[in-house]
């Protein structure tokens, strides 16, 4: 990776961050009523309003307000949730680990599952298995993820009784060590599967397209001419190149995973950001919702940056001009 690319790519972060700040600032100010209500909520406490007005500089001209707002956001100071009376940054930070565990598991499951399914489907394009996978993907696209979660409860959890349907740990038992991990795993299995299922269609399709395109290339033909089986040529040669697109969309998928996780968590009572968002939505707790927008937006910027840097490191062809 050359330095020129690194510098250019790092500089691209700036307009993205500026966009996020401008859009959220504009929306909070475009909302009907006093912007202090948007930042501080409808608590009605005049003293608190005065405090927040001073803190966010809401009594000063707009450009100055924007600077104050940006400074607050960039230092992680998002104000206080009026429904829970705690700092938004604390509330979010407390719940991020559980959500990341769910998202990470779903990301891993759907990536591995999608690549395997895509490779199997690519063996015989338009064959029975390929058509079955395509049809399943089409249906998968249409199911809302929160309903998929309820269906998983109805069809798997209630029937078999293997999977607990609420929370992250068993409240009655106080496991430690390995038992604790197993307990969490048992609670995690179903939500992670549901979230992965909502993602797997996309990966399958990308893997299939990538593999089909790559298997037509000369180097694969050469490998096969030298006696390698089709599977061998795929695994040892084509797969690396075919899967690059799958890796590059990880950044985009983080956004879907966040919203999907929030909805799935609501159904399974997973103690992550989902419940926080649900209660914030129902109590119109704007500071928390604003915090979520910022969290996800900055995560996307970071994820895209990391993906691009890894990509450039893996593939030396990538550089600017």
């Amino acid at each position: 990776m050359n330095r020129r690319y690194l510098v250019r790519r790092l500089l691209q972060v700036l307009p993205a961050v500026a966009s996020i700040l401008i859009v959220t600032f504009a929306i909070v100010h475009a909302a009907p009523g006093d912007p202090v209500v948007a930042v501080a909520g409808e608590s009605g406490n005049q003293e608190y309003y005065a405090f927040m007005r001073a803190k966010f500089g809401l009594d000063r001209p707009l450009p100055q307000q924007f600077v104050t707002y940006s400074a607050n956001v960039l230092t992680g100071d998002l104000g206080t949730s009026f429904a829970q009376g705690e700092r938004v940054s604390t509330l979010i930070a407390e719940r991020v680990p559980a959500t990341l565990l769910l998202m990470g598991s779903a990301l891993a499951l759907s990536t591995v599952g999608g690549i395997v399914l895509g490779a199997l489907a690519a063996r015989r394009p338009f064959g029975p298995f390929d058509l079955a996978v395509s049809t399943a993907a089409l249906v998968g696209y249409a199911l809302p993820v929160f309903w998929m979660a309820q269906l998983a409860m109805l069809t798997i959890a209630f029937r078999t009784g293997w999977f607990p349907v609420q929370g992250m740990t068993d409240a009655r038992a106080n496991w430690t060590g390995l038992h604790h991990l197993l307990d969490v795993g048992r609670h995690l299995a179903l939500p992670a599967l549901v979230l992965a299922a909502s993602e797997v269609a996309l990966i399958t399709r990308m893997a299939r397209t990538g593999i089909l395109a790559e298997m037509d290339r000369g180097y694969v033909t050469v490998a096969q001419a030298k006696g390698l089986s089709a599977t061998g040529a795929l695994v040892h040669h084509a797969l690396r190149n075919a899967l690059l697109p799958v890796v590059t969309v990880v950044g985009t998928r983080i956004g879907f995973l966040f919203s999907g996780a929030v909805l799935v968590e609501t159904v399974f009572g997973w103690p992550g950001l989902g419940r926080l968002v649900l209660s914030a939505a129902q109590t119109r707790d704007h500071p928390v919702l604003l915090g979520m927008v910022l969290l996800v937006a900055f995560s996307l910027v970071l994820a895209n940056l990391v993906t691009d840097l890894i990509y450039a490191r893996v593939d030396p062809r990538i550089r600017y001009r």
């Binding site: 966009s19 929160f146 309903w147 109805l154 395109a213």
Partner: protein, 320 residues
Amino acid sequence: MSTLASATADAAAGAGPVAAPHRWRAALHRFVRHPAGMVGLALTTLVVVAGALAGRVTASDPFRTAGDPLLAPSRAHWMGTDNLGRDMLTSVMHGAKTSMVVVLGVTLLASVIGLAVGVVAGYRGGWVDDLLMRITELFQAVPRFFLVLLIVALFGAGLDNLIYVLAFTSWPTLARVARAEVLSVRDRDYVEAARSIGASDRRIVLRHVLPNVLPTALVVIALTGSRIILLEASLSFLGLGDPTVMSWGYLVSNAQRFLRVAWWMSVFPGLAIALAVLGINLMSDALNDVLAAYSKAPRSARWRRRRSRPASLPAQLPVR
């Protein structure tokens, strides 16, 4: 300008892709012979009919009690009743109406904004293009689902507000696609020819540029529609829908506490969402096959494209 001008312009471009009426008729012929497209059309029609009949063949107020609570599906209540004794079939049909209103309103608004921004940016170029595209990127930098949550919480959850918010956040993809399409035809010979014989910008855009943007735009608009259904359902699932109208997302979230005793409260509204989204996705996919893919590629390339495309899948990422 007379039609002579455009006729000359068409002739100048050889077999230019401007023979619009003929092309649309041919596309229609292909569409009715596209099995997946017809299934999609049937599903979408089913939802539209259900929505149109809500309040006519069913009770006009879906929130009214119609029988005992938690009755399983039976002849009297085809989809059972919910925890408050409301008829689920009535609710689901009223939900179809709500979804229809939202989807129509949002796609209409978003199409106008998206096409206007995309066509102007692509056709004008220069600083206008730069400015409009920077604004489009501004919108795309922020995650849509959470942005919509915040806006609805700030501005209120009435149905009209919901439509504005969803439209306001749904146009960027269309704008980018429309711009790209405009760029691909802007410098074609037939546009050049029309300009050289003095056609106005308005005429060039309406007669020569827009007809070439529409096929692809229609596919994107249909996909926007199916995403809007999912997004509206997610919002009302989280309690951010309009509380005065029935919606599928609300029904599914209401079913949550009764899952163990009343599967029908979850299954029927969820199925309705899935069928509506599937229907529109299948149609947009068929549109892609009969319009976008065929309009540009010569015959041989058409086949190659068909084979390398995965069988019947939406062309773009879904948003949940």
